[in-house]
Every structure is written in structure tokens, then in C-alpha cells.
């Protein structure tokens, strides 16, 4: 059992969720409530990581974050190591790759709030921020929670993009999915089996937890 890889995966998933939560609230709300001409294009862009092969996506990220790119060069100057093949690079890739999983359910959550309910909040004297906190977030909560759980579980299981952007550096970029792959390559079937089962258990637990929690929220609303 590769505990280092499991811990790394959990850390990666947690960071991805922490960063994507405000993004999903902001973008989900924006796409749910605003009508603008390029809306279809923005929605398509958000969904793109869902259909692109991770290798294609990883390749572009390598090019964009590599030592010769402006972003990569700036990172190298500031932090003294390169962005690709590092944990930070992995987090950036994971955040971008999980955009559809985080934004789409959040958008549906906000869309489920009736326009009049939002207007009623304003007529009750609530500022946009107060309305977000007291009315919109509690009502969009099932959608936001689905978004975060999907993001978490999906990050644990991601393989291709991690391999492309992160390589397989133990303790830095070697996630549990990569570790399982290594075990299979090294004919360690027992190790692979234990780690696969662990991953299945964690994923099942998180998803079951969301269903249970959203059922509770459903009861709270009715």
C-alpha cells in the first residue's frame, strides 16, 4: 500500500475543491442568472475538458506552463522551481480539468431558484451579498455540494492529465492512480488490488455521503 500516493491524492483533491468552491459559486451563479450573447460559447468552453482526451489537454497545459512559456518563466523566477512536474502544477491542471464538474451542477443549483424569490430578497432590503448568503446559497446548496463531491471524487481518479503534467515523482506528483498503474506494471497485483479497493471505498463513501446529505436538504425544504 502506497500511503504517500494516497495522501498526495487526498491533498490534491482537497486543494482542488477549496479553490473551485468560490469559482463554482461565482461562475455557476453568473451563468444561471445572466443572459448574454456569448453565453453558449462560455458554457461550451467550461464543458470542453469533459470531452477532450486528457492527453490533449495535458499537452496544451505543458506548453502553457512549461519553462519556455511566460507563465512558466514567471513561476520559475518567483518560486525557484518549474510549475510543471510539481504539486502546484498538478493543482492548477486539476482545477482547470474539473471546471465542468464544479460549475455545471452549481449552475443547475442556482437555476432552480425562482426569479421571484431572488427579487423578494431584494424587496426585503437584502443587498446582493446578503441575498447570496441568506437566500441563494442555502437554496443552491444541493447543487454546490454535488459539484464539490464530483470534483473531489473525479480528482482522486484522474490519471492521464496527471501523467502528462506531473510525471510520476513520489511525494510530489505520484498520485494513487499513477501508483496503481506502476504496481500493475511491476507485477505487484496484490498491491494494486488493495489500493484499487481503497479508492473504490473512498469514492463510494463520498458519493453516498452527498446523496444522504442532499436528501436531508430536500427534507429541510419541504
Amino acid at each position: 500500500m502506497d500511503w504517500t500516493a494516497l495522501w498526495l491524492s487526498l491533498r490534491l483533491a482537497a486543494w482542488t475543491v477549496v479553490i473551485l468552491l468560490p469559482v463554482s459559486v461565482f461562475m455557476g451563479r453568473f451563468l444561471a442568472f445572466r443572459q448574454f450573447r456569448a453565453k453558449g460559447l462560455v458554457e461550451a468552453l467550461v464543458m470542453l475538458p469533459l470531452v477532450l482526451p486528457p492527453t490533449v489537454f495535458g499537452f496544451y497545459l505543458l506548453v502553457a506552463f512549461g519553462r519556455n512559456s511566460p507563465v512558466g518563466a514567471l513561476w520559475q523566477q518567483t518560486f525557484g522551481h518549474q510549475l510543471v512536474f510539481s504539486f502546484e502544477g498538478l493543482v492548477v491542471a486539476s482545477v482547470i480539468f474539473n471546471l465542468p464538474f464544479a460549475i455545471q451542477p452549481a449552475q443547475r443549483g442556482f437555476e432552480a431558484i425562482a426569479v421571484e424569490v431572488r427579487e423578494a430578497a431584494r424587496c426585503c432590503g437584502m443587498s446582493p451579498l446578503t441575498s447570496l448568503w441568506k437566500v441563494e446559497l442555502p437554496l443552491a446548496w444541493p447543487g454546490l455540494m454535488t459539484a464539490m463531491v464530483l470534483t473531489f471524487a473525479h480528482t482522486l481518479g484522474e490519471f492521464g492529465i496527471v501523467l502528462m503534467v506531473g510525471g510520476s515523482i513520489p511525494g510530489e506528483t505520484k498520485t494513487i492512480a499513477i501508483s496503481i498503474y506502476d504496481k500493475v506494471q511491476g507485477f505487484d497485483d496484490r498491491g494494486a488490488a488493495i489500493m484499487s479497493a481503497t479508492l473504490v471505498a473512498i469514492s463510494l463513501f463520498t458519493i453516498a455521503l452527498t446523496y444522504w446529505l442532499s436528501a436531508r436538504v430536500g427534507r429541510r425544504l419541504s
Binding site: 427579487e119 423578494a120 424587496c123
Partner: protein, 366 residues
């Protein structure tokens, strides 16, 4: 300290309207759906901004497109009851009410909920309340905002008839506590006539008639413009006695009226809506007639429109009753202003929701 509204727009619907509502006055904006009345309400609340508009209340300007003033909705002291109430589904009735307060005050929320007859239901979620109860929570929430203007957007359209009758009575009672201008949007003439002091009739974004409820409802031209045939007047009366046969005897100035069971204790002041097309006129006092209500009056005016009907204005005591009869009948009877005449009204022609409690003795006498 009135509410003054002026709005002009070309989209989404053409609009060119101005009106004024005094404090404590209930103004009904009446018109077909799509006439622009809800758009006007949304303009007052700041949920919509027409191309040219001015909204002032209590001397404060909420919106002035010329002076570039546009207070956001949450900074306007406006209470609004939405057509479908728009309650916050995750909050209890009390929390809904407190959400509209500047500082949440549970005792005050309970007091307002009591005021709208929701005693003991403070901890229920909207989904656990009936339609009528939800409407009362919405009214309580609007009042909790301590509004400078109270806006009611078709607030009775989503409940059944029996509930609606009760809610009418409650709103009339509640008006004793309302010192701010109130705007009611409705397409229901009966509702407007029962509840409003004044009416503004809007068609295709323009005011076609404006005046006291009695003036507008007695104007066949205005009503025709709206495609409404139901000319009607409100006759004040006092409940005298509930008979064992299911009829209630009311005392109007000109004599007794027998109507199907009217709710209320003897001595209660009510207003009865009498539809002009249900009224029969007779020169001689009729005998052997099934109709229970025969009032003596005097013809004051005959108004002939384009159609085959004549509207006869009859003074019964101090109040006017309108009768829509055919021109032929008016000619056969040779009716002239000044003629004595008997007004005949079938008991069963007055629908239950056409009798409303008078706001107060003083108001009924107006």
C-alpha cells in the same frame, strides 16, 4: 407624502402612464394581462427600469431617469406581495418575516403574524402551509419591511374562491393599520371594487380611465374600453339578522335586503356589490313576484351608449344603483329623470364574494 409614479417605455410593451397614490389610500391598477400594470409595479420596486420614469415617495426620489437617480431595490422601502408569494422555502414563517426586518426581532415577527391571523404557525415552513396561509405570510413579510409603499401583485389569484373571500375581509380589516400608499394590481373588477378607493384603468400601456371606484365602475364607456360588461355599484348596508331559511336580512338606507347567508354578526357594516345587469326596474310596486328585494328610488339619469342597452341611474336613499336595461324597455316605460321607480333585485343574484365587510363605519359612509 404620497407615491407618485410616471413611466414611459416602448419595450417590452409600450407604456405611458402617470398616477399618484395618497398615504393610506388603496389604488387598484386594473387591466388585461399584458396591459403593463405589473410592469408599473416592478418599476416602483426597482425590479425594472423603463426608458423614462420617475418614482417618488414621501418626497424621496427612488427613480428619476432625467436626474439619473436609481436607488437599487434593496434601498427602497418597498413591501411587495408577489402573485405566487415568492416565500423563502428554507425559512419558517417567522424567519420569512424577520428576513424583511432591519434587525431580526422575533417578538415583532410574532406580532405581525398575529395581525394577519397566523397565530401559532410561526414555525411552519411555506410547504407546510395552505395557499391562503402562504399569502398571509407574504403580506406579513411585506409589512415587516415597514414599507413606504405597499405593492400587491394579483395577490388573490392563486387561492380558491372561499379563501379569497376570507382574505378580502382580512385585507379590509388590515387597512386600519396601513398608513402608506397601497397599489393593488388586478384584472378582477369585483376585487378592485371591493378593495380599492380609486382605480386606474390601463389598456395597452395607457390610462383609459382614472377616478374613484364608484366613478369608474359607473362609466359604461370606460368599461367597454376594457371589454367589461359588468357595470356595478357598491351599496352600504348593515347586517340585521340571520334567518333560519339561510337568508340574511340586511338593512340598507332604502329598505331591507335579503341575501344568501352573509358572514358577520348583526350590526356589522358591509358593502354589497350590485351588478347593473341583474337589476330589474318597475314603475308600479310589483305584487306576486319571487324577487325578495324591492327598493323605492328615483331615476336621475339615463345613459345611452352605442349598444341596445341603457344604463339607468336610480337614487335609492343617498346611494345610486345602476340598472342596465334594454333601450326598448326604457322606451316602453317612458322613463325620464325624476320619475319614481322600484328597483328589484333577486337575492340569489348577489354572489357570496360580492359582499364585503366595510373597512370601518366612517369609510362606509363616505
Amino acid at each position: 407624502m404620497a407615491l407618485e409614479v410616471m413611466a414611459r417605455a416602448t419595450t417590452p410593451i409600450p407604456l405611458d402612464v402617470a398616477f399618484r397614490v395618497e398615504p393610506g389610500e388603496l389604488l387598484a391598477l386594473v387591466g388585461h394581462s399584458g396591459s403593463g400594470k405589473t410592469t408599473l409595479l416592478r418599476t416602483i420596486a426597482g425590479l425594472w427600469r423603463p426608458e423614462g420614469a420617475r418614482v417618488t415617495v414621501d418626497g424621496t426620489t427612488w427613480l428619476d431617469t432625467v436626474a439619473r437617480v436609481d436607488l437599487p431595490t434593496h434601498r427602497r422601502r418597498v413591501g411587495i406581495v408577489f402573485q405566487n408569494y415568492a416565500l423563502f422555502p428554507h425559512m419558517t414563517a417567522a424567519q420569512n418575516v424577520m428576513a424583511a426586518m432591519d434587525t431580526a426581532d422575533e417578538a415583532e415577527a410574532e406580532r405581525i403574524l398575529d395581525l394577519v391571523n397566523l397565530h401559532g404557525l410561526a414555525d411552519r415552513k411555506p410547504a407546510q402551509l395552505s395557499g391562503g396561509q402562504q399569502q398571509r405570510v407574504a403580506v406579513a413579510r411585506a409589512l415587516a419591511r415597514k414599507p413606504q409603499a405597499l405593492l400587491l401583485d394579483e395577490p388573490f389569484s392563486a387561492v380558491d374562491r372561499a379563501t379569497r373571500e376570507r382574505l378580502y375581509a382580512e385585507i379590509i380589516e388590515l387597512r386600519r393599520f396601513l398608513a402608506m400608499p397601497v397599489v393593488l394590481v388586478t384584472h378582477d373588477m369585483n376585487e378592485a371594487q371591493l378593495l380599492a378607493d380609486r382605480m386606474v384603468v390601463i389598456e395597452q400601456g395607457r390610462v383609459v380611465r382614472e377616478g374613484t371606484t364608484a366613478q369608474v365602475m359607473a362609466d359604461p364607456e370606460a368599461l367597454r374600453a376594457m371589454g367589461i360588461r359588468e357595470v356595478a355599484v357598491m351599496l352600504p348596508a348593515v347586517i340585521a339578522e340571520h334567518g333560519t331559511d339561510g337568508l340574511t336580512r340586511l338593512e340598507a338606507e332604502a329598505g331591507p335586503l335579503f341575501l344568501p347567508a352573509v358572514e358577520g354578526a348583526p350590526g356589522t357594516h358591509v358593502r354589497v356589490r350590485i351588478m347593473a345587469h341583474e337589476v330589474i326596474l318597475s314603475r308600479a310596486r310589483p305584487e306576486g313576484l319571487s324577487a325578495q328585494n324591492i327598493l323605492k328610488g328615483q331615476v336621475t339619469e339615463l345613459v345611452t351608449g352605442k349598444g341596445p342597452a341603457v344604463t339607468v341611474h336610480v337614487m335609492v336613499g343617498d346611494h345610486e344603483i345602476l340598472a342596465r336595461i334594454t333601450r326598448r324597455a326604457a322606451e316602453q316605460m317612458a322613463l325620464r329623470p325624476g320619475d319614481p321607480v322600484h328597483v328589484i333585485l333577486k337575492s340569489m343574484s348577489v354572489a357570496r364574494d360580492h359582499v364585503a365587510r366595510a373597512p370601518s363605519a366612517a369609510r362606509a359612509a363616505e
